[in-house]
């Protein structure tokens, strides 16, 4: 993590960044032929993977919202395979988690 004026910058290693890019490009390719709703799974899984890399490279994030949110995503994303309504509800709720985090940070900075 680095600090620039009022902004905190989190870092990824080159390997993590390349892995993330490879994952995103591969997910885009296989979305051409997989069931359409798999695309939602790839996106929420990408969020989990990105948090995994951030947590690996930025130990201070252990106290943030990320470990809990990543754990929640990893538990509930696989509902896509056996409980579609619960999975869809999870997706509808997921953005609120990060939205609340962003809002809280903005309010704290004001």
């Amino acid at each position: 993590m680095t600090n620039n004026e009022n902004q905190t910058t989190y870092v990824l290693t080159e390997e993590q960044a390349l892995d993330m890019l490879a994952f995103l490009a591969s997910a885009a390719e296989i979305s051409l032929h997989e069931p359409t709703y798999y695309g939602t799974f790839r996106l929420i899984d990408a969020a989990s993977r990105l948090m995994g890399y951030l947590l690996e490279s930025n130990p201070e994030l252990a106290e943030s919202f990320m470990p809990g949110w990543k754990q929640d995503i990893d538990t509930r994303k696989v509902w896509m395979m056996w409980d579609r309504p619960a999975y869809q509800q999870f997706l509808k709720e997921a953005p609120a988690v990060i939205a609340a985090e962003i809002k809280q940070r903005q309010e704290a900075a004001e």
Partner: protein
């Protein structure tokens, strides 16, 4: 008391208790176990006795990590994996037109199922993966042009996890749900 032999009941129990496993311990998979699993794959049915597949065992953690980066269906990095490959040169020798052939994927599936059941019988967990970039996996594994990755079977010692079912989970399927007798829509009367 079953009406079938103990061997048949034991075999059925192996089939019935196998589940896809997506969480593994760090314990390596023994080479002898991997050999036995690929032997089980070899004895799968092969349409027309064609045997146009190869099994690539991968144990190197760095290689597995690289493959996972282009395989979104690999939700974890397993201690080992077996990649089922189609040998396109062998297919050509057998006069198989892979672009329209309907047997190839069936043969890949039966080999994969044999291997997954064998892994389970050995106390291991496994998970088939088909969601991956074929071009990306080809590069990561250094595959020559005539070998095409079809399925990846992740293998390892299972780590217990909570499945965390939601409240709307459907009831488990039974064979009766899937089976009709003599005519469409006619379920087993028993």
């Amino acid at each position: 008391m079953s009406e079938f032999s103990p061997e048949a009941d034991a075999f059925f129990q192996t089939l019935k208790t196998r589940r896809v496993c997506r969480s593994y311990t760090d314990q390596p998979v023994a080479d002898a176990q991997l050999r036995r699993i690929t032997e089980a794959g070899r004895w799968a049915s092969s349409g027309g006795n064609r045997h146009i597949h190869k099994f690539l065992i991968v144990r190197d953690a760095e290689t597995i990590r690289r493959v996972r980066s282009v395989a979104p269906g690999m939700l974890v990095e397993p201690p080992a994996m077996i990649v089922i490959l189609t040998d396109k040169e062998a297919a050509e020798r057998e006069c198989i037109q892979l672009d329209v052939d309907q047997i190839n994927q069936g043969d890949v599936g039966t080999a994969a199922m044999n291997m997954q059941n064998m892994a389970h019988a050995l106390g291991l967990g496994s998970c088939p993966v088909t969601s991956f970039s074929h071009s990306g996996v080809g590069v990561m594994l250094g595959l020559p042009d005539h070998l095409e990755a079809e399925w990846i079977i992740m293998i390892g010692h299972p780590k217990p996890t909570q499945r965390g079912l939601g409240t709307g989970a459907p009831k488990p399927l039974t064979a009766r749900d899937l089976t009709w007798w003599d005519r469409v829509g006619h379920h087993d009367p028993v």
